[in-house]
Symmetry: C2
Amino acid sequence: MKTYLECLPCMMQQALRAARAATDNEPLQKEILNRCGELIREIPMEATPPETAASVYEIVKEISGNQDAYKKQKEQHIAEAFKLLPDLREKIEASENPLNTAARIAIAGNIIDLGVHSDFNILEEVDKILDIDFGINHFEAFKKQASKSDWILYIGDNAGESVFDRLLIEQLGRKTIYLVRDQAVINDVTYQDAVDSSLDEVAEVKSSGCPSPGLILDQCNEGCLELFKTAPMVISKGQGNYEALSDCGRPVFYLLKAKCQVISEIIGVRKGDIVLELRD
Amino acid sequence: MKTYLECLPCMMQQALRAARAATDNEPLQKEILNRCGELIREIPMEATPPETAASVYEIVKEISGNQDAYKKQKEQHIAEAFKLLPDLREKIEASENPLNTAARIAIAGNIIDLGVHSDFNILEEVDKILDIDFGINHFEAFKKQASKSDWILYIGDNAGESVFDRLLIEQLGRKTIYLVRDQAVINDVTYQDAVDSSLDEVAEVKSSGCPSPGLILDQCNEGCLELFKTAPMVISKGQGNYEALSDCGRPVFYLLKAKCQVISEIIGVRKGDIVLELRD
């Protein structure tokens, strides 16, 4: 997916949020906005949004000196998600279609990073998602592909959401390799976050080599590229990975919540819809 | 009011909206965003938001060559507002407190420019505002000051909203000078828009000399400054005028809907609240 003009003001909003998370120094926050403003001319519109976002977050790191602005928030989200784990596992096991319920819960996790802070609200979001229709629903293909795949490549998105991914991996019951970002960027899941989410108990956690907030294949290490090429099934979580991979040329199951107008129109759903889409 | 860091991404959003209204040429739209991005470093944060916005809209005009990007939209809003005039006048005359109802309707007009297009929705908004509480309500002081003022200086905001201003001017029943922007900027009311709104039938319409989307006194002509200094009562419509005048040092009655988080916090109301505030 290319970068749209709408993405540029959105990048500036992200820059401000990240600047404030990274430093309390207001002149530095302003300098981050200055530099990101100047970056706009340099952005190739044919690049994917996560590539563009990566440049923004590089500027935040360079100017603030803070390499992991969302560290505390990530720890908090993982801790909050863990508290819900027993109840959610119970919901899955009691449901008529445990795999479908686990997929919905994994997508619900994609919401946490939007700033829902109390346990009560997270649970409310989960309950909502358990009942609503998918904007796109390729669940039958998802189930079928999982049943005939020896192993699955699972591309993680946010820390916290990662705990919910564990529940889906349990239900899939297949050997799973869980790909994470190579370094901290926004609140995306890194190796340490994945281990803190106990994903190493149900999957082999590997760094993709990619430092951007979306799996940009050009930035991945050789090992990741080989896995991506050979995996009998690939599951991609979240909007950033969709933006990076949607034109990759191999079948991928995308699980996400459509969080902005641009992506909603591209996918052909309404903003806020949950999506389980197989793209070839 | 100074410019806040939040205003900068918002300026970029405004730049994109205005760029699209001004031209269909996508490379020119991108060039507008490039230039507005570069502008961020030059923005003095102690300047008021309308001063900053004025620079953005200057860039839009210069690059697109379109001096009045919202011309058609303004004409449409004025025409839509006119259709509602008889019903609204009836509502005012049938109400227990016609001046209060007219003030509410004038504030409701401040909503039109947010993109509510059908008559039905505008009417719905008006009905809503007739029933809700003000976030700040200095109506009694407003009524008292009007009753003892020989004449009133009324600072207009948006085209379309201007038609609703006529209803308040009728109820005030005082000689009124209606100040407008010196040239087209966003969908702010100009001399021609005010005449098209029939305001010349109930007030003397004058240009402030100010081309910014808010009455910046440093940019006003001598005549406007004299009026502003000597008026026994000043009514200021909308957020842009509030941003420009809130520290001006003379009593002004501000009628507006708080449309963003920054201004809501400054005024001390919730986002979306309607406000009738006397500031000394």
